[in-house]
Symmetry: C3
Subunit: 423 residues, 3 copies
């Protein structure tokens, strides 16, 4: 019988590790998506940001974030314990961090290290959302400094509220894999950033005209979307945490089906919406439709039927098209549509839970949305503002004109394909 | 003991879900392969087709196709039951669709939802084959309309003949993972399409000269091939459906080894064949050699020894080179070689089963090939023809000259890299 | 109880197969990395080399290499038995190769075919390292001929010393997943090659000036790095070979965490080092920092704490920056930095084992490093030299000027993006 428990432990550990590897792969998806949607002259820098933020997230979450989000002891349900960070003895947490737990009688049913792996690759997702929104005009080091604060402190604190057992969890706020904790959180931090940063030069003129700035490499953007779609099977599929019995296995299978169905619904709806609005099959809108479907279903991929999941994705696909247009009209310059995809649609996903999950309440969902947005916006705005005062967050006009690749990275992304005089 | 059954159920479910995620990833492979092999001016449109067809396949197969291919009750072995689609009570099927099945005493040994997931991602593969063949001159919406019919009706009906328990299964037709049901089916639909569509302008002149039209981005095409190679481990490896005992685990392992061996054989043979014919290491032929090896072994990756699998792949690699040249000489314009890779080599794969699998008979294999080709060709031709009459399937000459990206999608794939005056 | 053994067998088999699929995926990573770091005119050829070497490795390792590396009977601990290759009866090995082993009482605890699959995809990694170093001036067929010798004989022989039970294993040389056996081996073969091959034209002039030759497509190089990062979870994670009990599952989980942590450490350190040295966030150095972190931890990803793994990666990230500069100053032209990433850092990884693993000794690690380097260098140098005499290994100056894509493959990688007159 003990061998059966060991096998169960092994299967759940393997399942978490594979899921985590898929989530790590999403970092490549964000990098390709964003590199495809900016101009050639800003491509090296956005690639640098994406790989660097992933690395920073891993280091910061190891050092600080994991202990904040899943504290050994909490001060209360709003504020996690930070005694460990202040030097207190916290052997148990250290043992978990360093050794995993090999006692099958322990209440841990999978390797603690596998849990840490799954959590640590999650963190970068929230930060990747920010990098797209502030593209093409932010100083690289200001962005990296913000990512230290975001992945070490801001994300883990609000993550604790829900997944660490804090007050949102107590209130019955439902967020299976992070429409709120990850996506809305990232989008809100991005919103605070672009308000302080301002729009790219040439995007909006004084007469109120909006100049579209097309992305330079749509195959990359499409590849990034497919990578994210694939990685999301780990993101949502792994969030059940356990698969080793019939009940959990059925839930995980339903999560895979619904995640796929919602993304498909998002594509179809965005395709039709774009055709009606523009008379064209606007690929960038279609890609955002797929991502919108994925974000929306993330709050609860286990409860809806596949048909309802498809519909939730379709609504998300329509919302994202109108949201991108609306945010552009507000003169908030979000080059990749990240705030619409992850923020506006994240809210839709959290509310849609009420339609399929009898345990969710509208008031709890709303409390979660407001709590996350308020805290993340204030904390992010203050952080961005501090960096703006200390080191500046925007490159000079001349650097922006020539592209941040030169000023920040010293190299072009496509030295043989682009005519440098194009500007 | 019950816990062991639960674990077995969980492992098989997880195995199917991971396999399905790999198959979904093949959609990215087709998108990159085709985007790399067309000209820059038609790239946005082919990306749009690839992501849209995947989404349409998921929606149509959920609504209609799954019930046709695996009907709760069949009219007979040629025609599946469609009572469910006509409004009859079909609670059992609905329960399966929505809840999975949590009773371990049931004969279902894995989550029904995991089975649905694995099947639904398969469907798009057949349709992806079509998108490459009709590239660079077809109307987007005609293609999407065809994909509705193909993924909802044509593919599931002939799939029922083999995998749903129809007459081809009864005859002993052997097709492990779909050299016929998926690849030959897709290639036949593509053939019907390009006959009605005609060749790209400038491809063949009146004197019978053939002008090669090189793809614009070979790294993308190579990436797509590697993605497909990786995804095929899910496509073939998952088709055993069960892995939770020694016998099945050994078969799945053999499938992985042989799938890889055959692809490797295809690469080596195409490399040598191209060197002999052209004096050059023709990369596009080598990529098609890899895919040919994969298609050929798909009919039976479990029976051959790894050495025989390598040889089956080598023969496929030679066949594909000559087939691509031959089809071009027939003035059938297939920009990516899809009909050769998936159709001609698919037939080779179905026949090669006879060399390694004592249960297969030549007559059954031939019956399967003829049945699938006849039905799919007639049904596809009729469908394409109807769309040709109603909405037209070909863009105007001017649209083709400027590229379908403008006319269909309203945006360029590489706005900064290409000189628009090149045409 | 037997069913539990079967389940355990199935889980370990599945784990090895998934790990192998991830390692196969690394072939795509090397292809994209190298294609991104060479010039456009040499891109088709490097893609061709990468897919062809993978195929050749699979065929040669099936025919010869696996039997050398894991011989049924060994002559002694330095020289494996080759009686099988000389025609002796070797039924046992053949049975293993062809059927897998279905007897649960056997000491084999997973499918032998799954083991073969995991080993065969490993081989290409060593050879992929070579292809980057000799890029842009080597004859394609000389490279492919070398890959036959390397994957069939050189790699398996030194692999036998450690993993096949040869003398390095007996000495206590510690190399978990191949910092030495795979990465140092590949880098040493590459070093021998570039010494005989010479630098690219225009790289070093008579006054000792070094002209940087920038890569043409940094998004591809970044994608390749992310692919390798993901694939490394299979490379290191699968090298435990067993996951089906608590102890092994915990080790595998630790391997995932440490592999990720070390890569993250490499990125952060290379970012900072490049900023200090060049005043810019040099993306190519950052990518090499990630790979350096991965190579360094490969020798022992199971013993260090995650914090120590991060530090091992950081040291690797600094080493790789200085090594790339140093090797360039030695006028050894390595276009992608492969010798620094895989060789110099591979040595660091093997030595770093002594800091975390009490079982490792400095003298054993040093013996392993010297043995592998000496043998591989001499064997590779002799092989390269023989090919140089027989068929030549370097393209003509004119071919190099116009790009090896024309001379070797007869097609451009980006026919529409590059101005051919640029040279």
């Amino acid at each position: 019988m003990e061998q059966v428990i060991e096998l169960s432990y092994a299967l759940d550990t393997f399942y978490l590790l594979m899921s985590g590897a898929f989530v790590m792969w999403m970092a490549a998806g964000f990098a390709m998506l964003e590199a495809g949607l900016v101009r050639a002259k800003n491509t090296t820098e956005i690639l640098t940001k994406n790989i660097a933020l992933f690395a920073i997230a891993c280091v910061m979450y190891l050092l600080v974030g994991y202990n904040i989000m899943y504290p050994a002891e909490a001060v209360n349900s709003i504020w996690p314990g930070i005694s460990f960070l202040l030097g207190a003895d916290n052997t148990a947490a250290e043992v978990i961090m360093v050794n995993g737990d090999s006692d099958p009688d322990n209440n841990s049913v999978y390797s603690n290290m596998a849990d840490f792996f799954f959590q640590v690759v999650f963190v970068a997702t929230a930060m990747s959302i920010v990098s797209g929104a502030v593209a093409e005009r932010m100083k690289l080091w200001a962005f990296l400094a913000f990512s230290v604060v975001m992945t070490g402190f801001i994300y883990p604190l609000q993550g604790y509220w829900k997944w660490g057992g804090g007050f949102l969890d107590g209130l019955g706020f439902y967020d299976f894999a992070g429409s709120g904790v990850v996506h809305l959180c990232g989008a809100t931090a991005a919103l605070a950033g672009i308000i302080l940063l301002g729009a790219r030069k040439g995007k909006y003129d004084k007469e109120g005209n909006i100049t579209p700035i097309p992305g330079c490499n749509l195959p990359l953007a499409t590849l990034g979307t497919f990578i994210l779609w694939m990685g999301w099977f780990g993101f949502n599929g792994g969030s059940q945490l356990i698969i080793s019995n019939v009940s959990d296995a059925n839930i995980v299978a339903m999560v895979f089906v619904n995640t796929n169905a919602s993304a498909a619904g998002g594509v179809v709806a965005a395709l039709i919406a774009a055709h009606i609005l523009f008379g064209k099959a606007d690929l960038s809108m279609i890609l955002n439709g797929a991502l919108a479907g994925l974000v929306a279903i993330t709050a609860d991929p286990a409860s809806p039927s596949p048909l309802l999941a498809t519909i939730i994705g379709m609504v998300a696909g329509v919302i994202v098209v109108f949201s991108i247009i609306g945010i552009d009209n507000l003169k908030l310059d979000d080059p990749v549509g990240a705030i619409s995809v992850h923020g506006v649609v994240g809210i839709w996903g959290l509310i849609a839970v009420c339609f399929s999950n009898p345990e969710a309440t509208f008031i709890a969902q709303l409390t979660g949305i407001v709590s996350i947005m308020t805290f993340v916006f204030i904390a992010s705005f203050a952080t961005w503002y501090a960096f703006k005062l200390i080191i500046g967050i925007r490159v000079t006009e001349e650097e922006e004109y020539h592209g941040v690749d030169y000023s920040e990275c010293g190299m072009e992304a496509y030295p043989e394909f682009t005519d440098n005089s194009k500007g």
